[in-house]
């Protein structure tokens, strides 16, 4: 019995059915126009307009034009926009990949799509970096940057190496916009399994293959635990969020672009292990939230959290528990029985399908 906490975009027929989506477009420029428009759209009123979308503002004008011409009805469903040099521009909506043909029509036949040119990439890069490559040195080194609205843009090209380490990227050949969405309330169905009682929480691990909505779920867990959950009489707790890849809170110029709760402290772009220890010492969190653990030093940090009585909620890439047992560091964590709850996600019935929730000690299903 799999539960779905996201509305199912992959099964929807793409005929202007934005109203089915419960997603909230995030605050774009400090106001809530995006949010209101999405709602209005749901009531069959004014359509979602491109100008209300923060990611649209950082596309090259030529690409913007293609979006306006071909993709207006699907704006709220775009999950990825991929620009690969001399190859067709790709939009991913759920499991569907679309492109815009040379006569500005939307099509699933990718070979007919408009090709991305060097100028498109250069312009995009200029807009993304605000003409200031020096301001994004670390981001280029890591291959991604965060844009207003908390979306992430990945970049590939030719690596420039200095002293054996990647110094920066040049000859950029591919850019990928990952449109992050916040779905308020998507954690409702898992929260009952995280609460030990109305004061304490279980150490929890979310296991999921890529693009199954782990980050979105984690974000809503952070928000609800931080604000408190009235239904379970759970008062809000201090949440420490180590956001190494700037995906959970989507920090842009020091401000979270997503709702992460009123008692949440964010250490942005900080290595996980180091960040967890810093937060334990500096902000006295009751809950530590971070994503994609797996390095050796993470073990040490989690041990420290255990000593300090801090609950850890984190994620890992994977399909199932057996797969995790193959990986040395995770195997150790599982052997310790560190995690009391293991939640396994998939997209079997759409993004965010909850396959099962396990008790970490007995490995038996609890849902």
């Amino acid at each position: 019995m799999a539960k779905v906490f996201f509305s199912n975009s992959s099964n929807s027929n793409y005929s202007n059915n934005n109203e089915q989506k419960s997603e909230e477009c995030h605050k774009d420029t400090g106001d809530s126009t995006g949010h209101n428009r999405a709602k209005n759209n749901g009531e069959g009123q004014a359509p979602l307009t491109v100008t209300s979308l923060s990611w649209f503002q950082v596309l090259a004008p030529s690409i913007q034009q293609l979006v306006v011409d071909g993709l207006q009805p699907y704006l709220s469903e775009i999950e990825e926009i991929r620009l690969r040099i001399k190859r067709p521009l790709l939009f991913r909506l759920g499991d569907l990949e679309l492109t815009v043909s040379k006569d500005r029509k939307i099509t699933r036949r990718l070979e007919e799509g408009q090709l991305v040119s060097r100028e498109d990439l250069d312009q995009t890069l200029q807009i993304l970096s605000q003409h200031s490559l020096y301001a994004w040195e670390d981001e280029f080194k890591n291959g991604y940057l965060t844009i207003p609205g908390g979306h992430r843009v990945g970049i590939v090209g030719r690596a420039v190496i200095a002293k054996g380490m990647v110094k920066t990227l040049k000859e950029i050949s591919g850019i990928n916009y990952r449109i992050g969405r916040q779905i308020l309330g998507c954690a409702d169905k898992v929260l009952p399994f995280l609460l030990k009682n109305n004061r304490q929480l279980y150490h929890t691990l979310l296991v999921s293959p890529p693009q199954c909505g782990k980050t979105t779920l984690l974000r809503d867990i952070a928000r609800q635990l931080s604000n408190g959950v009235e239904a379970f009489d759970f008062p809000g707790v201090n949440v420490g969020l180590v956001d190494e890849r700037s995906e959970i809170a989507g920090m842009y110029q020091g401000e979270p672009q997503f709702q992460i709760g009123m008692r949440t402290d964010v250490l942005d772009a900080c290595p996980k292990a180091q960040g967890m220890m810093m937060l334990i010492r500096s902000m006295s969190p009751q809950v530590l939230i971070t994503d994609e653990i797996g390095k050796h030093e993470d073990l040490e940090a989690m041990y420290q959290a255990l000593q300090a009585g801090v609950t850890v909620i984190t994620t890992v890439h994977g399909d199932n528990v057996d797969e995790l047992k193959q990986r040395p560091n995770l195997q150790t964590l599982l052997q310790w029985h560190f995690f009391e709850r293991i939640i396994i996600l998939s997209r079997r019935q759409g993004v965010g399908t909850i396959e099962k929730i396990l008790d970490g000690r007995t490995m038996e299903r609890v849902n």
Partner: protein, 172 residues
Amino acid sequence: MCKLLGAILILLGCSYWGWKISSLYRKRTELFRFLQNGLTMLEAEINYTATPLPLALERVGRKSNRFCQALFLQAAHILQAQKTVSAGEAWQTGIAALAAEVPLSKEESEILQLFGYSLGGSDKEEQLKNIALTKKQLFIVQKKAEEEQGKKQKLCQYLSFCLGAVLVLLLI
């Protein structure tokens, strides 16, 4: 009586004209000094806070004197308003705005143009090198402009006064 009044007016007019021209020399030395200050501020914006150019140029512009303001604010404005324009092109329009206020020689505007070409297009280290180089060149230009000012400011004022005096004598 009329003659005397006319003579005085001619003398005053010519002196004012001379003073106007000579003040350009003063403005130019001031400009090069302030440009170096502006670049130092830009250096801090780039090196310490890694502020992107549109905002960095605006901040520097607001703190600069009138002539430098034209350059920095115009470039910042263009970058903020037009996405596809490059930083070099925006800087170029800034130089044009500056040249409208203070006369620049070909050599001087070339120094500024060269600076614009690599503005924003490389890492911190390279940006700082570029700023340091441009500051050095501007310092040399400033020294030249000061020399020129010393020589020509007085000369302009005397000459224009003499011209006035000659005109008066001729007319009397």
